[in-house]
Every structure is written in C-alpha cells, then in structure tokens.
C-alpha cells in the first residue's frame, strides 16, 4: 500500500505547538486597572468629603481611618489572631463539608439504589435554612468550635452534594458507551470518564461551597466567639466603632477573594481542555 496522503481542505486549526497552550481567562492588567477606578474614586471622594467637613465620618468612617484601624490591629497582633481563628473555622468546615458532599454526591450519582434511599431525605434537609440548626447545634455541641465547624460544613455540603450527584447523572451517555466498547472496568470508568467529565461542575461547586463557608462563618461567630473576624464585627457594633466593623468587612473581602482565587488557580490546569465556560480567578 502506498503512503496515505491526506488533504484536509483549509485546516482551520493552528499547528500543535500553539494549540492548547494558549492561556485564557485572565484579565489583562489594563482591564484590572479600569475595574479599580470606581472603588478608588468613591473612596477618595468620601475621604475628601469627610476631610472638608461636607460629610459626617462618624457612622461611615473615611478610608484612612479604616486603614488606620487595620494597621493598629496588625501592630497589636490582634488581626492575625482574628484572621487565623476565622480561617481555621472555614478550613475545617470546608474540609468536612466537601468530604461529606463528595462522598454522598458520588454515591447517589453513581448508584441508583443509593439515590433512591438517600436523595429524598437530603433534599428535605436542604429545604431547611441552615441557620435554623444553630440552636440545636449549640444544645448538642456547646457554643465552642464544634458547633461552629458543623454549621459551616452543613452550608458547604449542599452545593457540593447537589452539583456532584447531578453532574454524574449528566455525564454524556455516548462517552460512557465508548468506555464500554473499550471494556473499562467499573473503577476505570470512574477514573477515566466520570471523574474528568464531572470535574468542571465539581470545581464550580467547590467555589460556591467556599463562598457559603465564608457566609456561614460569620453566622457561626455571631453566635458567640471571643476571637475571629465575626467577633470583630459584633464587638464593633457593641462598642460603637464602625471603623472596626468596616475593617473586618474589608478583611473578609480580601480573604474571600484570595481563597477563591487560590481554588480557581489550582483547578485551572485541570480544566484547560474545556471549550465552554472559563473558570475565572
């Protein structure tokens, strides 16, 4: 047989060196700067207004005073204590929530029997606003770390559970059939098809779960804590110091964005194959 010659008319694809390597989904730094214009202008405007006496800075302190408060907390070492306390609770709650959500989501997605048995109950539990559990958790576990971590874990659990079990059910039947043609074993099917196919939805769910974790840590720290950014919020209210509240809010914003960006950055190399939506850090 002669060598095969192939003539694909006008191949619409770049050669392989650049194919697949193109990094996408990142904002160029100019767009970044443009996004900063509005918040900076508002901050500067308010600073100026308070300095000139046009506005009253007592209830809404100017940025300089918020930053000074943060700086003071940093100097005294309190900021680190609060940040670490909150971060630790979110991390522990996120860990257990992800663990349970992943196990149960995978189980109910993969096994019809497990789905019939567990899903109705879990769906019913989901209908309960998680904060409603707080009194019960406090009765059972006291007001210390355990009940806080459990509350956060409950908040993290549901998006992970729902997304994973739904994603497994939604895996393209046609690809599973390719797996059958090549006689994949049950574990190979999970590892080679179900896992990569559900990864995009899973990563999005992790990020949604983390967001909820940050939300619930505030609620958890409201229910009584001697340290943590949520405690700082309550303390600022009690002592009438809005700059302390705003400093805490600022710290929440920075930490939330940083941890979400970390998750996005860690998952990005695994999702480069994706054609459709692009996870954004």
């Amino acid at each position: 047989m002669t060598a095969v010659t192939v003539s694909e008319p006008a191949a619409p694809v770049p050669p392989v060196a650049s194919a697949g390597a193109a990094e996408r989904g990142r904002l160029p730094w100019k767009d970044w700067l443009i996004g900063l214009v509005l918040p900076l202008a508002l901050a500067l405007g308010w600073e100026l207004a308070v300095a000139r006496g046009w506005g009253n800075g007592r209830l809404l302190p100017p940025p300089s005073r918020i930053l000074a408060t943060l700086w003071g907390l940093w100097r005294s070492g309190d900021l680190i204590v609060h940040v670490l306390a909150t971060l630790g609770r979110v991390a522990a709650g996120f860990f257990f929530g992800v663990l349970a959500g992943t196990l149960l989501g995978a189980l109910t997605g993969y096994l019809t029997g497990a789905r019939r048995l567990l899903d109705p109950t879990l769906q019913a539990l989901r209908a309960i606003p998680s904060i409603a559990w707080v009194p019960l958790f406090i009765l059972w576990f006291g007001i210390f770390e355990t009940s806080k971590v459990i509350l956060i874990a409950v908040g993290v659990f549901f998006p992970i559970y729902l997304a994973l079990s739904g994603a497994i059910l939604g895996v393209d039947r046609k690809l599973v059939e390719v797996g059958r043609v090549f006689r994949l074993s049950g574990w190979e099917l999970v590892w080679r098809i179900l896992l990569p196919a559900t990864l995009p939805a899973y990563v999005l769910a992790l990020r949604a779960g983390l967001g909820l974790g940050w939300m619930f840590v505030v609620a958890a720290e409201f229910m009584g804590a001697s340290e943590g950014l949520g405690f700082l919020l309550v303390d600022g209210q009690m002592t009438g110091q809005p700059q302390s509240i705003l400093a805490s809010i600022l710290a929440f914003a920075v930490l939330g964005k940083l941890t979400d960006g970390l998750l996005a950055a860690l998952s990005r190399p695994l999702l480069r194959w994706q054609d459709s939506f692009k996870p954004e850090g």
């Binding site: 047989m1 095969v4 010659t5 192939v6 003539s7 694909e8 008319p9 191949a11 619409p12 694809v13 770049p14 050669p15 392989v16 194919a19 697949g20 046609k174 690809l175 059939e177 390719v178 059958r180 043609v181 090549f182 006689r183 080679r192 098809i193 990569p196 196919a197 990864l199 480069r272 194959w273 994706q274 054609d275």
Partner: protein, 257 residues
C-alpha cells in the same frame, strides 16, 4: 468469519427493531448496510458490537459467541465521541491503554501518522474540525488492530468534500491489515464506493430485503456508467423497501442481485 444467525431484537417498549436477520461476513470483506432511517441499521450494529443483547439469535465471531464488547471488534460512531479532556494522542491511546507505555506511544503515533494527524497529537479535541475528529476516532478504533470494524454512518455529519476524502481514506486504512468492515450508511453512493456487498434493509420490522454484489472494479469510479447503473438499481431497491410491509411469519428469503 462474522456470523449472524436469526438475530432478532425487540425493545422493551415492544417495538420489533430486527426480525430474524441472517448474515455471513467473510474476513476482510467490506459489507455495506443501507436502508431508510428507522429500519434497524444501528440496532444491528449495536448487536454486532455486543453493546446490545439480542432478544433471540446469535452473533459469532470466529466461532465464539459475541456476548459483550470485545477487543477484536472496533466501533466508530456517527459522532467522533472523543474524550474532550484527553489530547488527541491520549484519545487514540485510549484503545490500547493496557499496553506498556513505550509500545502504546509508538503504536499511537503510528496510527496518528496513518490518519494524517501526527501534527495534532498534542491538540485538544475541540481544536479539530469535524473531519479531523472523525479521523482521530478511526485511529482510536484501529489502533488495537481489531479484526472487525463496525461503522455507524461515520461520515454522514460531514460536508460532501470531506466525506469523499474520508471514504478514500478509510479504504487506505483498511488496506493495512484488512479487517472485516461493516459500514452502515444511508448514502447509496458511499456504500457502492466502499463495499464488496451491499445489504438493503426494510423497516417495520427490520429485515434484509436484498443482498447485492456489485461487480464493480476497484478503485471505484463514481462516474463509471456501470456505477451509475448500480446506483439506480439500489435506489429502486430502497424505494421498494420503503413501500414494503411484511406481516406475521410469512417467509421472506432475502433476494440476491
């Protein structure tokens, strides 16, 4: 030898998709299967591949019954069905994942070279055109050197130019180790360009109406008057198949032309 004996398939909803199909396909033969949509072509192919179990009757390959997917039987679907998370090279290597790494690599690259995609080995499936993706699917099916390759309307989603190109290309690939090909298509011209024999099927229930053995020299020339003549003849058979209704258990010996 691929042997189909009195093969029937009734779906759970009661629909009789295939009714007592009998076929013998010689090693290395290219068998075309044509028929209107809904006459059971895909069902037949899925039974041959072991993806579906028959209601009655048997499929045997070289004396062994086919009861599930087997390594000697390759399948190409209408869509490429590449794993979007694997590079083209890993997609093709998927077919021989149990081989040692070095051998897998050399055989994968050989298959990619044959289908003309070696320069795209590192690309993602989404970066390929429809024709290229289908060639990758061909490479994936052939890299394990199956003795039977089943193709279910593999080129029907492609534009006419790419389709002709891939038909010729399939023959080139076939020539390397001459597997048995069973090619389902609704395109008579495609069946005539490729097949040694052409099976015409009729619907409700799915049966074989005619088995034609067009005596056309290879390589086949689409503008040859004899080719045209056979095209007309098979079109007539297809028309007959769509008008045809058989009921009950009446005898239905497949005609040969």
């Amino acid at each position: 030898m691929l042997l189909v004996d009195s093969l029937s398939k009734r779906y759970p909803n009661g629909h009789l998709a295939l009714d007592r199909i009998g076929l013998e396909v010689a090693p290395g033969e290219i068998l075309g299967v044509v028929g209107g949509s809904g006459c059971g072509k895909s069902t037949l192919l899925r039974l041959l591949s072991g993806l579906e179990v028959p209601t009655s009757g048997t499929v045997t390959l070289n004396g062994q019954p086919v009861r599930g997917p087997r390594g000697e039987i390759g399948v190409v679907f209408q869509e490429p069905r590449l794993m979007p998370w694997l590079s083209i090279r890993d997609n093709v290597g998927f077919g021989i994942r149990h081989l040692p790494k070095a051998e897998r690599r050399s055989r994968t690259d050989e298959a990619l070279t044959r289908v003309g995609l070696i320069d795209f080995a590192g690309a993602w499936p989404r970066e390929l055109s429809g024709g290229m993706a289908q060639r990758a699917a061909l490479a994936r099916a052939l890299v394990g050197r199956p003795s039977v390759l089943l193709l279910d309307e593999p080129f029907s989603a492609l534009d006419a130019l790419t389709r002709c190109d891939l038909q010729d290309h399939l023959l080139d690939l076939w020539a390397y180790d001459r597997p048995t090909l069973v090619l389902v298509t609704h395109d008579i011209e495609e069946a005539l360009v490729l097949s040694d024999r052409v099976v015409v099927m009729q619907p409700r229930p799915g049966r074989i109406l005619t088995v034609a053995t067009p005596p056309l020299p290879r390589p086949r020339d689409r503008s040859d008057p004899l080719f045209e003549e056979w095209k007309r003849r098979l079109l007539g058979e297809l028309g007959r198949a769509s008008r045809h209704r058989t009921d009950g258990d009446e005898a239905f010996p497949a005609a040969a032309i």
